[in-house]
Amino acid sequence: MTISTVKSAFWKGMRDSAPFVLVSGPFGLLFGVLAAEAGLNVLEATSFSLAVFAGSAQFTALQLMQEQTPTLIVLVSALAVNLRVAMYSASLTPYLGGAPLWQRACAAYLTVDQAYALSMIEFERRADWGVSERMAYFFGTNGLVAPAWMAATITGALVGASIPDSLGLDFVLPIAFLAMIGPMLRTPAHVVACFTACAVSLPAALMPYNLGLIIAGLAGMMAGAQAELWFERRTARTEEAEG
């Protein structure tokens, strides 16, 4: 494990992550603009992105705060949106668990979608890498994306307050969420979870304090989990019949 292989792993991570700047840049910009529209100043919007560093959770919290939702429900809903990073953390552990604690503590902060996705692909391919190369690659995947996300948030927050209301920005957030759902529908079970949650959320919207969101979310999760089991059993049966 020489210094040079560690360095080259870092640069490789950075290069592989470059296309993701095109995704996180506009998202950070949008968050900054919408935060400014919601009345946050530049310092508040920047602190939000820096401290939380999770796009979809930030958008969720921003939307719910504007609907006068009780703080506890804002927190629970936004964290639920971000629960997937706990899974990322769990599946990175076999690869990065051997690193020193301070490195793991930094890696935890940087565990976001693109870092996870790129790293898992690379770690499975590079059996020759030790834990230092893996950690370097993981940090590399954030080398461009994290600064781009911050810079974009600040830019958005600076220009956001001067964008006229007539542009209908209060509907841009729903559009951003809808766009995010598309790539999530990877399996039939994900589709079941999505549409169950939608169907429950409409009558549940009558519940006070936006509690309906939590109920509909839980309903969608249970439907997804059950659908996954059902599809697995069906596949197993088909294979049995064929075999």
């Binding site: 939307q63 629960l83 841009v172 429950v200 969608g220």
Partner: protein, 114 residues
């Protein structure tokens, strides 16, 4: 212009920022930092897989049916822009393309019929 009138107070905002910062860091640190190589129970992982794909649609569906810009009155313009965004997102799996399509269709529909 300017929607800079805040509809929530600053202390709520900071509670949310600090709470989310601690909460989402804890979620990320939970396994890589603490649990080590122990596996999580299957039933839990099976439910966790569907959190985002359940919560985000549950958040967005009421916003599409009762859009905020019309004060909650159902609106064909907003529904059409939303449907188009979703269709592009599902078929292209490209978040950025779907967002741009959605925003452009919203603005053209607002210009034509708004």
């Amino acid at each position: 212009m300017n929607g800079t009138e805040m509809t929530f107070d600053r202390s709520t905002l900071w509670i949310v920022i600090v709470g989310l910062a601690i909460g989402s860091y804890a979620l990320r640190f939970a396994f890589i930092g603490l649990v080590g190589n122990k596996a999580m129970p299957d039933w839990l992982m099976r439910h966790l897989r569907y959190t985002a794909v359940a919560i985000i649609p549950a958040l967005v569906a009421p916003l599409v049916v009762w859009p905020a810009p019309t004060g909650g009155e159902p609106s064909l313009i907003h529904f059409a822009a939303a449907a188009l965004t979703f269709a592009v997102a599902v078929f292209s799996k490209n978040v950025l393309l779907a967002m741009i399509t959605g925003a452009c269709s919203l603005w053209s529909l607002m210009y034509l019929f708004g």
